[in-house]
């Protein structure tokens, strides 16, 4: 009787753990969103087409085109080597500006165009030492890209 009860409890615990593990495992891969730079995105092979990814870079000066009366914004993200055109529809965050860092989440279509429905802007000024800001220095581009990856 006593051993039977013990096995009953151990068995239920094992079943619950297995179920929870399976739920976690099966949803894990799909919930992962990878981060790439524009140079990495253009090199991705076709199996990434349509998969949700994040791309981070600097919004190129002069690249932002807003279609008046709609929520469409086209812009280009650059990492210094490669420039990736992004078509975005939605409401960008307050910090989204040309010359600033931004992370776009979305997917790449068959033609290699990137469609984003979510933008996270990074306020690069906040990521540099305040002394530098006071002295009026600007942050090197590599450092901005590094903070974007964070």
């Amino acid at each position: 009787m006593k051993t039977k009860r013990k096995w009953g409890i151990a068995g239920s615990v094992a079943v619950i753990l297995a179920l929870a593990g399976w739920l976690g495992y099966s949803s894990f891969q799909d919930a992962l969103v990878y981060f790439y730079t524009p140079s990495e995105v253009v090199k991705l092979d076709d199996k990434f087409t349509g998969k949700r990814i994040r791309v981070g870079g600097i919004v190129e000066k002069g690249s932002m085109v807003m279609t008046a009366g709609t929520m469409k914004i086209d812009f280009r993200l650059s990492d210094g080597e490669t420039v990736l055109p992004v078509a975005f529809e939605g409401v960008p965050p307050d910090l989204f500006k040309e010359g600033q860092g931004a992370v776009a989440e979305g997917f790449r279509d068959q033609n290699g165009n990137f469609h984003a429905d979510l933008i996270m802007a990074k306020h690069s000024e906040d990521y540099m030492p305040i002394q530098m800001k006071r002295e009026g220095k600007s942050m090197p581009k590599e450092d901005i890209l590094k903070t974007l990856k964070k």
Partner: protein, 651 residues
Amino acid sequence: MTHVLGQFSIMLALALAAAGSLAAVTSIVTAQPAWVRSARNAIYLVFVLLTMAMGALEYAFLSHDYGLKYVADNSNNTLPGFYLATALWGGHEGSFLLWAWLLALYSAVAARLHWRTHPQAMPYLLAISSALLLGFLCLIVFLADPFEAAKIRAADGAGLNPLLQDPGMVFHPPFLYMGYVGFSIPFAFAMAALLRGKVNEEWIRATRRWTLFAWLMLTFGIVLGGYWAYYELGWGGYWAWDPVENASFMPWLVGTAFLHSVMVQETRRMFKIWNVFLIIATFSLTLLGAFLVRSGVVSSVHSFASDPGRGVFILSFMTIVLVFSFGTLVLRGDRLKSEVEIDSMVSRESAFLFNNLFFLVAMATVFVGTLYPLMLEAFTGSKVTVGAPYYNAVFLPIMLAMVVLMGIGPLLPWRKASPEVLARNTLLPAALAVLGTLATIAAGVHEIYPLFGLAVVYFVFGTILRDFHTGARGSQRREGLSYFSALLNAITRNKRRYGGLIVHFGVLMMIVGLIGSSVFRIEKDVVLKPGDSFALGSYEVQLKGVTEVSGPNYSGMAAILDVLQAGKQVVELRPEKRNYTTSSMPTTEAAINENWLRDIYLVLDKPTGDGLIIKGYLNPLVKWIWSGVMVIGLGTALSLWQRRRLMKEQA
């Protein structure tokens, strides 16, 4: 001048914490009471010194002393008084100081409270408290000094991040720390019991109220964070499985498991090793939280400029705590064999066992989701985020199971339940669940997951009502009182049980809110010209115009929007876009109209062409979340109120 006083205080406090640790260890080795007294007095003095340091820093903020780097970085001349006073914990250095001050406060209070009642455990308590203080003070003095002098004394400060200028954000960190630090006292008691080799129920009885208090503060802290995100960040949500949110959620999950499982040891003398394990895990997770938030390894609204030195320090500190506490547990664990075993699958103790299992599975889920990206980046360099679908997939079923258990558990007797009695006790609640679910379907809810969730909520609600009713009836029979005073009588007689049930009721309210606001939420992004309108659920929102707004340290614009239902005006809302004078970053001020059924949540974005982009959310039942937490606070307070005279420990 202030920075001299402050620096002097923290350095002296560091020296005293070191001396106190030595004195306490000496008292353990030599068993001389004079050393215990010195160790205690050292803790009292550390508290006094840290209070002076807090006072000095506060004074520096209020007097705009930009000779201090920390003050210059986190405030400026136009910052309103309230935010100026609370900017003390607006950055890393001040937060660490607040943390250390709370630790000193709690340690001093614990030393005073338990001095007479727990003389044998006292040297160990003092040793552990002073060692923890020593660790935090090393961090403050050597790596995060809030009294560091500025290189150049600026005429004005850099200002406080506008996002932090909100009451929710002002109180979020102190509550969180009151919770985090609160768990260090039960931890110290557990370690004392373990080191003395006397793991009876004494340490659990002594720390019951410490644990409850810490748990409540942590709960408030976490919810205040969500409240702030909801009202200030303007994305219409309150929880995003952000690594920093997870950092505070993990100790909460294990702390909640601990809160429940100690009851088994108290009544049945089981789960002894397990309880020590849980409190060590809870305390270590609070340190992990500090590491994740304060070292800058994860990115979020919380972690700005980061300093790798601090991360390394906190990580090493955590490693020492883990090695020391788990090492002691392994070495002394053999003395902790339970004398009894679980008698039946259907009993209170097995309900607690499964409760613990679910809480720990939940914690493991959050742990993996939070740390996997860090590990992956450390080993492969790939950067990845774990999205909400993973958490939802695991959490929804676990939460359902936990809520069912929350209804059945309190009904079950210790040792062994008879299935007939259980069936009789759950009959009415089950009937209520069926009726409630049918009513919900009739009201137009047809999705399967929320229906299932609500059915469980109705069931548990029924069991709680039934419990109160039985208590009132019993008291009525015995004392011949009116129903209402009999109910009050029953509650005051057993504050702990009814307090717990009220907490469960608060949890149900929160779950109703969580289901409503996640499943039935409506979100719309539109472009409006003055006179245009859009439909939001059964409401119609019309743009009337735009106006300028200004405040003490910002200016901006507001959209004037009419919310109509069936052609009649419900309310006029004015979401704002603000530009703070000291920051180049504009902020969004959402306009919210709330009642028990739904929140209408409107956000103004920038103009496009001759129109304005407006985001509209209809968030059902959000108020239930905030109110549920108040009920949880009420129930915990009732439970805390039941004081058991602190019994003298047996020698």
